[in-house]
Symmetry: C2
Subunit: 302 residues, 2 copies
Amino acid sequence: MMDIDAVKTYLTGLQDRIVGKFTELDGKPFLRDSWDRPEGGGGVSRLVEEGNLLERGGVGFSHVLGAKLPPSASAHRPEIAGRPWEAMGVSLVFHPRNPYVPTVHMNVRFFAAKSPDADPEKAVWWFGGGMDLTPYYGFEEDCAHFHRVNRDALAAVDPQLHPRFKKWCDEYFYNKHRQEPRGIGGTFFDDFSEPGFGQSFAVMRAVGEAFLPAYVPIVERRRDLPYGERERDFQAYRRGRYVEFNLVWDRGTHFGLQSGGRTESILMSLPPVVKWRYNWKPEPGTPEARLYTDFLVPKDWA
Amino acid sequence: MMDIDAVKTYLTGLQDRIVGKFTELDGKPFLRDSWDRPEGGGGVSRLVEEGNLLERGGVGFSHVLGAKLPPSASAHRPEIAGRPWEAMGVSLVFHPRNPYVPTVHMNVRFFAAKSPDADPEKAVWWFGGGMDLTPYYGFEEDCAHFHRVNRDALAAVDPQLHPRFKKWCDEYFYNKHRQEPRGIGGTFFDDFSEPGFGQSFAVMRAVGEAFLPAYVPIVERRRDLPYGERERDFQAYRRGRYVEFNLVWDRGTHFGLQSGGRTESILMSLPPVVKWRYNWKPEPGTPEARLYTDFLVPKDWA
């Protein structure tokens, strides 16, 4: 049986636990900004800017409701257009200050469209989510660790999921106009309901629970590495790719901005300082060149 | 009679003249980067980075050809899908270093789809273009000057055009997700062929010729005003809106990136250094607040 309250309780708890851990790691408290949506629902944005660890980081929870699902939101399932719907999720992006600590994104979400005659058997729902890592300077052990934690977390629910979700992630987080992956991937899934509510919810929780063990050890290993202007400059340049992906290709961002979502919460994902330079390429043999040749290529990292 | 060669000659000459004038104003020479497009055509990108006046500025000419027009490029004229086509234009964005000098954009373009049986009478073609100004710190006399030059240039061809093209500009350069104009407007037109080839070409030339007289006096008045970190910071923050517009809403950018255009030439429009900050608002009564209250509102500036 679909239990929306259980999903909501899980998501708000996950937001609290992640913010708690990163408040401890950063030392600077996250702001809390609650907002309401005129059409129904709202959210809580938690974020830190100019922190010790995070130059900009946001963890958003939102729960939005509508009386009629717009056709644009149900293009692949036209039968649910016009139904009452709700969507909830936790979405985070952390942009660390130190260029040796990768940027990370994680999202878990749930969508439900009620049946027109309130018959719960006819409700349509699905889960989605994933996480992906975007290093500026790559470390093989970090990539392997991130993917292993994701693999093992999903394998505990169903060993067949990880290969599928990893491939889906490589395909989704891809800057087509650069023919370049956004980072070193992770997991991505959407529109997931096949094994039934309980098991699908378990898959979403597996991703949510994997976030801290996948990312925190990388932060701890890299946060004190010394860096200079050269590394900061490359980080600012590469962050441009993050902006390009989120504003040009990311369906969630695009749909949110074009459909009247809360702009400042959606754009918490953008980096604090970004640079664009014409046709810049790193010198062969440099650590910056290694990012392209050794890391921004789909690999079986785990 | 449609004369594509005359359009091309005009456009390459315009690029040269604008680059010549700004090389003189900046003191740093523009790079020249020629490129070919595998499917046909190519372009010449001229740009300067870290100049004395321009922190980043690009003037691109492109002439691209294709054997079959994709349906996505002809949604409003389905009858020309599949035809051989060509498109050419000059597009520029200048991001000055001094926050008192506004960012400017200008574009003039021509599109033609040949008739399937090579009958020139059945060719479909149109002109488009415009320019708009994006100040960080507003000056009423600059806004009035920019709009007056645009008005007078168009009035010399047809006095009815300017009110229509100004309104079109206000509507086009609008960040819907912020409910905020990109800047103080200017002129915009597209799909323009009504008065016939000769007169339509004259309208495009009027816009092209208006660029230097509309913008250069503003540059000369403001380029030596002293500024500090506060103004640079606000400029970097506001440049974020420019990125958001270009990557989320601008049809040319979006279509170019999604259809395999030359990424580095398309993204010459992005600013060199950009900052994002959560939910930031200027203190009431400051010059930064005046930008929002007194300038980022549609007005009859001329």
